[in-house]
Each structure stands twice: as C-alpha cells, then as structure tokens.
C-alpha cells in the first residue's frame, strides 16, 4: 500500500504544508496571519485537494514551527531544529551547518547525518531576521522579492551602523535623502543582516558544507553577503521555505518505518480536520 506523509510547518510569517511519497506530491505555502494559527486544517485541506488524496490516506502527520501546538490533527510535534536538519540533509547529504533565516527568528544548526547536534537561536531581536528586510523594503518603497537583485548591483554597500531594526530604518531613510543609491543601500542592508547572522552562527564553529534555508535564503543578495562574511560557499535548497515541512514529513516516515520494523502499531490521531478551539 502506498504511504503518504505530511509535514505542516507553521512559522511566524508563513505556513507550509507538504505531502510526500517518494518525493513531494503536493505542497501549499501561505501567510500565517493571526487566523492561520488556529486554521491549520484549512492549509491541510488545500494541500490534500492539490494531491487529490483523502486525509485518511495520510499515514503520518508531523507538525513543526512555532505554531505546531495549534495543529490538533498532527500525530507528533517536532521542533523546527530537527525538521530542518532532516529536510536539508534530504537535499544535501554532506551538509554540516544550516543557517535558517526565518520571518521572525534566525537559527544556526550543526548537523551530523541529518541529525542536529547543536544549535543557536536568535528570537529576541528582529535585526537578524526576515522582518528586518520587510521593514526596510517598506521604508524604501520596494518589494521584498526584488531586494536580492537590487542589492547585487550595489558595488559600494552603505555602512548601516545601527543594530536595532527600528533605528536602522531611520538611518536608511536618512542615507537615501543624502543621495546614497538604492543599490548600495540595499547591499548595505544585506551586509548588516549578514553581520548579525554570522555573529550568532559563528558560536557554532561553522563547518562546511553550509546550507542556507528559510525565506531569507530566497534573497540572493543576502546569501552572497552571508557567504562573503562567513568565508564559505553557501548551498540553497530548491525551495528554501519548504525544508522544515519536508523534514517534518520525512521524520514522520522514519517514525512509521520504525513502528513497522519494531512490529508495533503506529499511533495516529483521528483523521478529521477541525480548527483548534482557543477559547
């Protein structure tokens, strides 16, 4: 019988779902927002519709991300540290260090054979996260998706001295009015972010192969700045937003395989999709 595994990654900014068999059968990415945290069922429904599978066909569901406790139909909740480790190793078996630049946090993970052995997190300050880029993009009147290419054209990155996102925004606007080019400003922003991230990640003693994932990995300018700062080439998965959800699904497969190997029954939740009741 064909087995399918689902990974649900409810991040602070984006919610991602994948359904996997030997590869990805279907996936869905959408903004988390205040409602999505209790509407994980809707995201799952969309992915199931795309895969043309009934929910009963899913062998195992693993939820991850900050919102993982709001996925009542998940058979297990696993932190994004383990899920990203597994997901990245799926694409890069030689990976030893992962840098995940998320919407509201940033992580460094050391891995061995796809398993995490150490990690650092920055979850107290927006200055090392995707939120920093969103705020700056807004201040500059550009789309966040365009920042990477714009920044790559900056040959003299502006020095942004403030480490606080709010004050950095003020500084950027001031520099713009002084005549600093948009390309150099954005390049400077990428450098500033890369500095913050590398300071945190260097606590892990970075070892190659280094993989960047999360939404920040889609920004080619940031990836280049980070690579320059760390002194390593950085690999990026095909869809960096999905590595957590992919890892979650693959960990679900591992759990199912182990149950089969051990001859024990696989404990799963009822295959029904309901929204979580918060009050």
């Amino acid at each position: 019988m064909t087995q399918y595994f689902a990974g649900v990654d409810i991040g602070s900014t984006m919610t991602k779902v994948v359904i996997m068999n030997k590869g990805i059968i279907a996936f869905n990415i959408g903004p988390t927002g205040p409602e999505q945290r209790r509407l994980a069922n809707k995201v799952m429904e969309k992915a199931l519709k795309e895969s043309d599978l009934p929910f009963e066909a899913i062998t195992y569901v693993v939820a991850t991300g900050y919102g993982r406790i709001n996925v009542p139909f998940a058979d297990k909740q696993i932190t994004e540290i383990s899920c990203h480790a597994k997901g990245v190793a799926n694409f890069f078996p030689e990976a030893k260090t992962i840098i995940e630049v998320g919407g509201q946090d940033c992580k460094g993970i050391k891995i061995n054979n796809g398993k995490p052995v150490d990690f650092v997190m920055n979850d107290k300050c927006a200055a090392g996260t995707g939120r920093f880029l969103e705020i700056i993009a807004d201040a500059l009147g550009i789309k966040i998706e365009e920042m990477g290419k714009i920044g790559l054209q900056g040959k003299n990155p502006a020095k942004i001295s403030n480490i606080c996102t709010v004050f950095a925004e003020q500084e950027v606007v001031a520099r713009l009015s002084e005549g600093v080019s948009l390309h150099n400003l954005v390049a400077g922003i990428h450098e500033s972010l890369a500095n913050r991230i590398s300071r945190m990640v260097n606590r892990l003693h970075v070892v190659e192969e280094v993989v960047v994932t999360g939404g920040g990995a889609k920004n080619v300018g940031l990836v280049k700045a980070l690579s320059d700062k760390l002194g390593y080439a950085l690999a990026v998965p095909p869809e960096p937003l999905l590595t957590g959800a992919i890892g979650a699904a693959l960990l679900g497969k591992d759990i199912a395989d182990k149950a089969l190997h051990d001859g024990v029954s696989l404990e799963t939740k009822e295959r029904s999709l309901k929204e979580i009741k918060i009050f």
Binding site: T79, S82, P116, M121, R203, F279
Partner: protein, 465 residues
C-alpha cells in the same frame, strides 16, 4: 456575546524534596522577622551573600536583611515590575542589575511613604541601621547599590568590605601571593568588626565568633557531602530544588538552623537513593546547570525539563562551598584569619587543576569535573542580561569547554562516505532572560529552545558509539 476568557492560572512549582518545599515559609518567616526585629529595636543590616561576614554579624546578634534575596522573592512572585519601574523613574538605567533596581525602587518607595509599599511581597523588607556592601572583584552593583540607596536613607551608614582574591594567571604561583591577600582581608574584616561595634554599641564576643566560624565550616562540609549524594542515578534532587536549598547555604550560614536543615536534607536524599526515587520516574538525560543566576520568575522551567525526562543533578550556580578538608586551611585560632583563608582557598581551589589541562581555566575545569562526576549528558547556561558580573564569560567558558573536552564517541560519515570515529563535545543550550525582569522572558521561546535541546540530546544519545 463576549467570549469568556480563561483566567491565567500559574501552576505551583513542584519540588522533588520535602526540604526544598520548606524553604518558602522559612524565607517568609525570615523576611517577616526583620520587620519584627525593627520593631523590637534590634540591630539590622542590609547585607549581601558570600561576603565572608555571615558569622561575624551572627556573633553580634545583628539581623541581616539580604537585599538580593528580597529582590529574588519579588521576581519569583512576579511582583518586581513596579519596583523596577520606580527605579527607572528615578533615572536608574533599566540595564543595571535588576536585583539593585528592584531594591532601589522598593527602598525609595518605602522611605517616601514612611511605610511599606502597598501589598509588599511577604510584608516587605525592613529599613536597616547600617549597610554592609562588598563588590569583591566582580560586582560593581554590590559596591554601588547601597551608596545609591543611601540617597533615600542618608542617616544609614555603609561599610564596604574589600574581599579580593588572586586572579588566575599561568605564571603566578598562588602560594607566593596568598599571604598579602590574607593580610588585607583580615584588616578589612577587623575594620568591619570595629564599625559594627560602634554602630551597635556592643563588643564582639570572640569565643562565640570562633564557635560560629567552626559551625560555618562544618556546614560547608555537610552541604558538600549532601550535594554529592546527587551523583546517584536516578538523581534524587535537581537544580530547581537547589535554587531553594541555597537559602540556608548563603543566608543562614553560621546558624544551627542552617546546619540542621542540611542534616535533614542529607537524610532525605539518602532515603530517596535507597528507594531509587529520582526527580523523575524515567530519567533520560542528566544535565549540568553550568552557569547563570536563574530566572526567579520562571523556576517552573525546571519542571518543564523534568517533564521531558531531563534532570539537573548538579549546578555551579549557588554551589558556593567546598569541603573544608580540601581547602587545607592553615592552623590558626584566630577566627578572622580562618574566614580569610576560607575565602581565598575557596576562590582559588580550581586553579591547580586548571593548570594541568592545556586550554583550561578554573571555571571550565569545574565544569569538566562535574560532567564526569555526575555523568552529564548536556549543559544548560542562562544569560541574564542585567548581570554582567556572573554572566559575562559564560559563552567563552562554553566555547573553551567545547574546544578542549570532547567526551562523546560518535560515528560520522566522512567526505568519502566512509564511517569514521570522532569525539564530540556535549550538547549545550543557552537560555536568555534575566534574574528579576520578567519583560525579558518569553515562555514560548524558552520552551521551544528546551524542546529543540531535548531532541538534540536524544539524537546525541542515539549516535553515541
């Protein structure tokens, strides 16, 4: 119709030992005791822990008000914010030591009202007759806090005790410089006694002081022997409880009550070991609390660790003792000299060991010893943002430990896909928050980190050869 909101209920923190459970009422009685002492006209001193003057003040029947302790109580009861805000309104920076900020805010408020602030935790702390500070060579707040609070109590004098110790340097032989430090500290403590005699109008009872110093030393040895029982598997007591049992260690040194507490705890732990009763039923991971004052408002995080099968058999925080026999204190009948030797020998105890291991230093050596003695699987440290004294250097210690100490054998896939043996460092976790300021704390983030750390520990155990 408006939805009904659930009232936030704080679960009571669970203790593994009955002894730890008794500390709350003990502390409450002590704090209330200071207010009563004030009413009875007894001599009251603001004091800091670990300043080598515990037995001195006890011998002179001075009632100590442990101001750091009171700030910790306010933090634990999640009622420190108003005192921190009061201090901020007085233009003290929020980045300062939050023990000091809490104390400054409280004292100014009390003096302003000429009575305790409204609903002061456990009745509030009494105004002192004098203040005994000591920053030693570590802590600026412990030098400056009482000077700052003197603005609001100008009639309350301060004595600042100088208590240095030789720094760890590769090329300095401690034996060659110790005598200078001892001479200095003896002078400082004698000066303190003269100050106290003037303030109280009473003379020091030297025989009593000798008895209390002897009691203090016996207490140190008893505490060490008691805590060493936690080497047992399963561990009968964890760091969560130790954050309570530190009270008699550092707030009641030189009292029979303090000594008797540890006699009782010793017996309780032996009984638990005999019954193989651990902190948790299924002990999966043994962790070292490798540094950092705890978040007093979030001690239930230890219970969260426990819920994952993780226990803390040992900690460096507030384990401020060594057994006296190890300190090789020279023979002397002078109780002041004994106090000075105990001080110097405590702070330099790990120096010789550290010199024997390249790249090590005393705090790192202590971590290694505890890892080996207590069969530790991972290390947790807490970075409290407002306390540079105890927390600056923790990350360096962890980095240094990872460089020089790799005890875990694992198999890894090399670049040619061949399996090879390697030794790894212990997994570690750094929590970030504060000691008293709850605005620095996010339970969601903290527990997310703990969850990820537990998964890391699990993988490390699975990969262990």
């Amino acid at each position: 119709m408006a939805e009904e909101q659930k009232k936030e209920e704080r679960k009571r923190r669970r203790h593994a030992t009955e002894a730890a459970g008794k500390i709350g009422p003990m502390v409450k009685a002590t704090i209330g005791g200071t207010v009563k002492a004030r009413e009875e006209g007894k001599s009251i001193a603001y004091a800091f822990i670990v300043c080598s003057y515990d037995e001195i003040i006890r011998a002179m029947d001075i009632v100590p008000v442990w101001t750091e302790n009171y700030a910790g109580i306010c933090g634990a009861k999640r009622d420190a914010t108003r005192f921190l805000e009061k201090a901020e309104s007085l233009n003290f920076s929020r980045s300062l030591c939050t023990y000091a900020l809490c104390g400054l805010g409280f004292d100014q408020w009390r003096e302003d009202l000429d009575e305790m602030p409204p609903d002061a935790p456990w009745g509030g702390q009494a105004k002192p007759d004098f203040m005994l500070s000591s920053g030693q060579i570590l802590c600026d707040p412990r030098n400056k806090w009482y000077q700052a609070v003197q603005q609001y109590m100008p009639d309350v004098p301060i004595y600042n005790v100088g208590l240095p110790w030789p720094l760890y340097e590769d090329d300095i032989k401690i034996a060659e410089v110790e005598d200078y430090y001892i001479k200095y500290i003896v002078e400082e403590l004698r000066g303190l006694i003269k100050f106290l005699e003037r303030q109280t109008g009473r003379k020091m009872d030297w025989d009593r002081l000798s008895e209390l110093v002897d009691l203090g030393e016996r207490t140190w040895s008893l505490i060490w022997e008691t805590y060493e029982l936690r080497r047992a598997v399963p561990a009968p007591m964890g760091t969560g409880d130790a954050m309570n049992t530190m009270v008699p260690m550092v707030f009641m040194l030189g009292t029979q009550e303090g000594y008797d507490f540890f006699l009782e705890l010793n017996k309780e732990l032996k009984d638990k070991i005999a019954r193989k009763e651990g902190v948790v039923k299924d002990e999966k991971y043994r962790l070292l609390w490798g540094g950092g004052l705890p978040s007093w408002f979030a001690l239930s995080d230890f219970n969260y660790f426990n819920s994952k099968g993780a226990v803390f058999p040992v900690e460096t925080t507030y384990r401020m003792i060594e057994p006296i026999y190890r300190l090789n204190i020279p023979d002397t009948n002078d109780p002041i000299e004994r106090l000075a030797w105990r001080w110097i020998r405590y702070w330099t105890y790990w120096y010789d060991k550290a010199r024997k291991r390249p790249g090590s230093e005393p705090d790192v050596e202590r971590l290694i010893q505890y890892i080996e003695d207590y069969q530790i699987d991972g290390i947790v440290m807490h970075e409290a943002f407002s306390c540079r004294t105890w927390h600056l250097g923790l990350i360096w210690q962890l980095n240094q430990l990872k460089k020089i100490y790799k005890p875990i054998p694992v198999l890894i896939l090399g670049s040619n896909r061949q399996k090879k043996d390697e030794k790894r460092e212990l997994p570690s976790l750094i929590l970030e928050s504060d000691i008293v300021d709850i605005s620095s704390y996010s339970e969601v983030d903290t527990r997310n980190r703990i969850d990820a750390f537990i998964e890391t520990l699990e993988q490390t155990k699975k990969n262990k050869v």
